[in-house]
C-alpha cells in the first residue's frame, strides 16, 4: 500500500460545506474499468465550462496552486456516493491531504486506503486556517503523520486524530488485504461454525 509519512505544501481553499463525491468526480466519469484519467476529471463541473473550456477563476485552475498538495475544505467533506474514484481523482491530481472539521465515513475509509490523509481540526483552527491562507496565500503547512501534527506558520503545531491502525498502515505501507488474509485459519474456523 502507498505510504504517507510527512508533507509540506501550500493550501488550496475550497470553503464549501458538504462537498459530495458527485462534485469531486461526477458520475459520468465512472465508466472506466481502471484508474486512468481521473485526475483530469477532478471537480470537473467546477473546473470546466459546459463547452469544455477552463474556468480560470476556479482554484484548481490557478497557476499558483498547481503544485499544492493540501485542500482546506468546509465541514463534512466527501459525503454521498461511496465511489473510491473520489480519492483516486484527488491523488491523481496531486492532493495528498484534505483538512476539514469532519469527513463522511466511507470517504474517510477510502482516502486512508489511498494515502490521502483526512485531517480533522476543530472549528477554531479551521477558521484560523482560512484566515491564514486569505492573508498569505503562499503559507505552507507541514503535516507529520508519526507525531500526528499539523504545523501552521506563525502559530503552534496542532495535533490531529487518526485511527492508530490506519496510521500504522500508512507509515509502514502495511497491506490491509494481506493483514486480513494472515487470519486465514480464523476465517476458516468462523466459516465452519456457520
Amino acid at each position: 500500500m502507498a505510504k504517507f509519512t510527512h508533507l509540506k505544501s501550500k493550501v488550496i481553499v475550497i470553503p464549501n460545506r458538504n462537498i459530495d463525491t458527485d462534485q469531486i468526480i461526477p458520475a459520468r466519469f465512472l465508466k472506466v474499468t481502471d484508474k486512468n484519467g481521473l485526475g483530469e476529471a477532478l471537480f470537473s463541473d467546477w473546473r470546466y465550462n459546459s463547452d469544455g473550456s477552463v474556468k480560470p477563476d476556479f482554484v484548481l485552475n490557478q497557476q499558483q496552486n498547481q503544485d499544492a498538495k493540501i485542500i482546506l475544505a468546509g465541514d463534512n467533506f466527501g459525503c454521498g456516493s461511496s465511489r473510491e474514484h473520489a480519492p483516486w481523482a484527488l491523488t491523481a491530481w496531486g492532493i495528498n491531504a484534505v483538512i476539514s472539521t469532519s469527513f463522511a465515513d466511507i470517504f474517510r475509509n477510502n482516502a486512508l486506503k489511498n494515502a490521502l490523509l483526512p485531517i480533522v481540526v476543530n472549528k477554531d483552527i479551521h477558521q484560523s486556517l482560512f484566515e491564514l491562507v486569505a492573508q498569505s496565500p503562499d503559507s505552507e503547512l507541514s503535516i507529520n503523520l508519526a507525531s500526528q501534527t499539523l504545523t501552521i506558520p506563525r502559530s503552534t503545531a496542532v495535533t490531529f486524530p487518526i485511527d492508530s491502525f490506519a496510521k500504522n498502515c500508512l507509515l509502514t505501507g502495511v497491506d490491509q488485504l494481506g493483514y486480513i488474509l494472515s487470519h486465514e485459519s480464523l476465517i476458516e474456523a468462523y466459516e465452519s461454525t456457520c
Binding site: D22, K35, S82, I106, Y179, I187
Partner: protein
C-alpha cells in the same frame, strides 16, 4: 454469549467478528456481497494482480444497473465506454464464478431492489456492496453498508472486512402517517432535522409505531436514505411483516430450514434495557409531504413551506452554502415551492422504484394526463417490478397519461446511461440525491415521494398530492 442487554446492531456485529487484535479494527465476516459494474472492475484487477480467487462465490451476487440503458436492449448501446464496463463485469463474473443477473436476465435490476426480491437479503446478515445505498437492506434487520472499491477487493478475496465498531442511533417514529404522507416524507423530514452529517459514525435503528405499521418496501425507502443522514447503515428489527415478505422467495430458506430461520430471526431485536449512543423521536402523525429545495438532501421543507432566507443564518458558512444552493437552483428566499414549474418528473431508483411506488404513482395518474411541459420517465427498479407492473396494467396507465415506460436500471438517479435532466431544467425526482449535477450537468433536482412526483407531473408544477386524492 454475554448477558448484557444489546441493541439489534450489536447482536449482529458481535456474531460476525472473526477476530480483533488490540488497537486494530475487527475482522468482520460478510454474509452477502453485492457487486455492480461501476465500483468493481478495479477490484477484480487487484485480485488478478495478486493471483487471488473469490473466496466465497456463493456469497456473492452481481448485477448490471448503473450504466445500463433503459431503452429496449435490442437497440445497440451507443456509449461504448459503458458497454465496455458492462462487458468487463460479465467477463469478471465468468472468470471468478460469480452469479450474474446480466443484461438479458429477467431478474436483473438495481442491486438494492433485487437482493430483497430474490430473498438473498435476510435478517441477521452482514451485507456489503460498493454502493452507499446498501443501507437499504437494513430494512430486514441486516447490517448492511456501502464500501469502497479497495474493500470490495478485500471482501472478494477474504469474505471479510476491516471495520471499527460504529455507534448506535435510535430513530423512534411515533404515531401514524397522515393521508398523502409516505415513507419518503419520513426520511426527508429526519434528514432535514439532523442534517446530512447528523448520523456520521453511527448506525440508525428505526423503531416505533410508525415503523411497525410500514410495509417492507416502505421500510426499505427509509433505510435506503440513512446514508443521506450520514449514517452508513439503517436497520429495522424483523417482525411478521418481514417474514411474510420473505416467505416463498427464491432464496429464502424452505421447509424445516424456514422454521429454524424464523426462530433465530425472532431474536433479532434490541433488548429492553439496551442503550443507544444517541436517540431522536419524530412524530409521524405531524409530518406533511416533504420536498427538497437545495443541493443536498437535508435542504428539505414541508411542501406547503417557503424557502428559508440565508440572512436568517448567523453562521457565515451556512449562509454562503444556502446562497450558493439557491443560486444553483435559481430560487429566491421566501418563495413557496408549490406551483413552481418543473420540466422533468422521474419515478424510479432504489429509493422509490418498487412495485408499491409505481402503484401509488399510477393511482394519481389514472384517468389524468401528464402536463404538456413535463417529460415524465417511469423506470422500474428491476425487471421483476416491470413484469409485475405490466401484469397489473400500470404501464398502460403511465403511457396513456403520456409518461415514458422504461426497462429497469438506475437511470436518471445518477444519469450515467444517457437518461438525464438537461442543464438548467427542474426535475421532481423520487431518487435520493439532489447534489449539483447529479441528474445531469446543470440539472436542478427536487426530491420527493412518488405521490408528490405524480401530482406534479399532472399539474406541470410542484403540487400537493393531498388536493388530488
Amino acid at each position: 454469549m454475554s448477558s448484557n442487554p444489546l441493541t439489534l446492531f450489536e447482536k449482529i456485529w458481535h456474531s460476525h467478528i472473526v477476530t480483533q487484535e488490540p488497537k486494530s479494527p475487527a475482522v468482520l465476516y460478510i454474509d452477502l456481497h453485492l457487486v455492480h459494474e461501476v465500483t468493481s472492475p478495479q477490484a477484480f484487477t487487484g485480485l488478478r494482480e495478486r493471483g487471488l480467487k473469490v473466496r466465497r462465490p456463493t456469497h456473492t451476487l452481481a448485477t448490471m444497473d448503473h450504466s445500463i440503458p433503459t431503452t429496449p436492449l435490442s437497440i445497440p448501446m451507443a456509449d461504448t465506454q459503458a458497454a465496455a464496463q458492462l462487458q468487463q463485469l460479465a467477463e469478471n463474473c465468468e472468470e471468478f464464478d460469480i452469479e450474474l443477473y446480466g443484461m438479458d436476465s429477467p431478474m436483473r435490476g438495481i442491486v438494492h431492489v433485487i437482493g430483497p426480491e430474490l430473498g438473498r437479503t435476510q435478517p441477521g446478515m452482514t451485507i456489503v456492496c460498493g454502493d452507499s445505498h446498501t443501507s437499504t437492506h437494513g430494512a430486514f434487520g441486516a447490517l448492511a453498508f456501502g464500501i469502497g472499491t479497495s474493500e470490495v477487493e478485500h471482501v472478494l478475496a477474504s469474505q471479510c472486512l476491516l471495520q471499527h465498531q460504529p455507534k448506535t442511533f435510535q430513530v423512534n417514529l411515533s404515531g401514524k402517517l397522515g393521508i398523502g404522507v409516505s415513507a419518503k416524507d419520513i426520511i426527508l423530514a429526519l434528514i432535514a432535522q439532523i442534517g446530512i452529517g447528523g448520523g456520521t459514525g453511527h448506525v440508525f435503528e428505526y423503531t416505533g409505531e410508525a415503523i411497525r405499521g410500514l410495509t417492507m418496501e416502505e421500510r426499505m425507502t427509509i433505510c435506503n436514505m440513512s446514508i443521506e443522514g450520514g449514517a452508513r447503515a439503517g436497520m429495522v428489527a424483523p417482525d411478521d411483516t418481514t417474514f411474510e415478505y420473505l416467505a416463498g422467495r427464491e432464496h429464502s430458506p424452505k421447509g424445516i430450514e424456514w422454521d429454524k430461520a424464523i426462530k433465530s430471526w425472532k431474536k433479532l431485536s434490541t433488548d429492553g434495557e439496551a442503550i443507544y449512543d444517541q436517540s431522536i423521536t419524530l412524530d409521524a402523525s405531524s409530518l406533511e409531504p416533504m420536498i427538497t429545495f437545495g443541493t443536498n438532501p437535508s435542504m428539505g421543507l414541508q411542501i406547503t413551506g417557503r424557502i428559508p432566507n440565508p440572512n436568517n443564518y448567523s453562521d457565515p458558512d451556512k449562509r454562503h452554502n444556502l446562497e450558493d444552493s439557491l443560486t444553483y437552483m435559481e430560487l429566491q428566499p421566501g418563495q413557496p415551492l408549490l406551483g413552481h414549474p418543473v420540466d422533468v418528473v422521474f419515478i424510479g431508483s432504489c429509493t422509490n422504484g418498487r412495485i408499491s411506488d409505481l402503484r401509488l404513482a399510477a393511482k394519481v395518474l389514472e384517468g389524468r394526463r401528464v402536463a404538456e411541459n413535463i417529460r415524465m420517465l417511469v423506470v422500474p427498479g428491476s425487471q421483476s417490478v416491470k413484469i409485475q407492473a405490466e401484469s397489473e396494467g400500470l404501464d398502460q396507465v403511465f403511457t396513456e397519461a403520456g409518461a415514458e415506460w422504461r426497462e429497469a436500471g438506475c437511470s436518471m438517479c445518477i444519469a450515467m446511461n444517457g437518461d438525464q435532466v438537461e442543464p438548467g431544467q427542474y426535475a421532481v425526482s423520487t431518487s435520493n440525491r439532489n447534489f449539483e449535477g447529479r441528474q445531469g450537468k446543470g440539472a436542478r433536482t427536487f426530491l420527493a415521494s412518488p405521490l408528490t412526483a405524480a401530482a406534479t407531473a399532472v399539474r406541470g408544477a410542484i403540487s400537493d398530492v393531498r388536493e388530488m386524492i
